[in-house]
Amino acid sequence: MDLQTCAADGRLDVKARQLPLRGTPAAAPLNKPATPVSASRPTQACSRPAVEISHLRKTYRGLIAVDGVSFAVAEGEIFGILGPNGAGKTTTVECTVGLRAPDTGTIRLLGLDPQADKDEIHKIVGVQLQESSFPAKLRVAEIIEEFRSFYRQPADVTELVEALGLAGKRKDYYRSLSGGQRQRLSVVLALIGAPKIAVLDEMTTGLDPQARRDTWQLIEKLRDRGVTIMLVTHFMEEAERLCDRVALIDAGRLVALDTPAGLTARARGGKRVRFLPSAPFDDRLLAGLPEVTEIERDGRHVVVTGTGELVNAVLFALAASGVTAHGVQLDSSTLEDAFVRLTGKHLTEKGERS
């Protein structure tokens, strides 16, 4: 959880998140050229969806992997799929790109059926799979050239390779690449055919923070060119920064589908205030307030959980007893909180967050 250093910042944050910017994440409202982009982007209402999935169901030997998932991705949208391990994200992706046939339900990519129209789908959809590898003794440039030759109108290789930081690695054998470099190569290969739809399954897993930010920039650039992007991730920061909308998937079901800001707002059912009291006080002083649900002590600090005008109520009650609250911190909800609230699970191990 992000702890905002003062209540005022917390409130500002709330406003930013509720701006009707089609899910522009508030985490980076200033460094994102939102206006021209959103103006040129088609909205869901006025164009056919790039990806349309309805009632997708897939079982493996009786185990339900995906259980009736439906959603539509607008053209030019960055659509995130979030969920804990085993939630059915990868199965959804594999059905979407035609690697697996759904048991029931329909999938359309720009009106095409991934099972019946494979040839067309393969020309317009670029895919990065979670587990993919290439022959150990081919050089990076050789693999890239091979994949480039598969497409009639390939993307600009130099630009892609530089954006993903592989320019100095062209002559290296695949086997000598680090995990992160392999990952970036697989993103290059997903985008090399200049796809209309890019499906990326955990594209930044294993990347260092700088490489991750570079990859995000590339994805934003692609979106600005009208590419539709379906992004499986378990990095909250990634979803908040990049995604126009996010689907939360848990145990094969769609739990929620909203903008990152919308999901975060849903999680804001509870609030939490943390402060250092100027003098000891009796818990009953706050426990009696209607806004307060819980009081915890963390060393000399006090953490109060509750609802409504919690901060005002707490500060007022303390002041009335002659106690001043120092270093007041208000918890702001994040997508992670939304996730925990909606599924009862944590998305990732704590250490895995960047």
Binding site: L99, H122, S132, S133, I143, S149, F150, R152
Partner: protein, 258 residues
Amino acid sequence: MRPLAIALPTAPRAAFGKLVHNEARLAWRQPAGLIAGVGVALLLLIIFGVVPHLQESSAQLGGLSAFEVYVPILIAFVIGVLALSYLPGPLVSYREQGILRRLSITPVPPSWLLGAQLAVQACLMLATVGLLLIVSTGFFGLSAPKNLAGLALAVVVSIAAMFGIGLVIAAAARTSGAARGLMAVAFYPLMFFAGLYVPVQVLPSALRGISHYTPLGATVRAIQYSMFQGFPPAAPLLVLAAYAVAFGLLARRFFRWE
């Protein structure tokens, strides 16, 4: 959009060239196959060639010298090693590593990669067979093949038959290790019936009869005939063609891309 797509091939043809180029690079950079197949055959040929009494014709071998008997056997050896080991090996590991799966979501079907593998292996086989013939005629006094067309045909159907068997191994083996095991199980008996350990001419007639119906036994028979007598009889060619068709169909039925 769709009628146009049907008129065009799925992917640019140049893609096949790139696949062949990269498969050839891989064969060159992982020279185990070259050494095991080409190197060993050439070494044996030279050893047989320089030992003087192996050049003397023997009544037991039907008037041929031991050297003359072994040239067709070494040709069969090269085709056998490359088809049984260095064809299934890469294919199974490509499947294990998800490379075939990754290809299946590009405009290039994974069968193109298989085609590229076959092309590279076939070129390697033909070049080695040519090299063995040039070395044995140029340096060790082997007479020029009696019927070059018959020889070429025998080599081609033999390659087709052994590719069929190699692809069935690739279809049956889930892991590279399993492919190596199956290769060994198939290779040593087949080489026995090709006469690598004991020339077929000196085997008991029952075993010789079996040999005629094994792929490498039929290969040796057809190649020997075209080298020393004339156009090979239909029997070994048909045996090889039957193997090619039967195993080709089996492979087609059971090969999995992922």
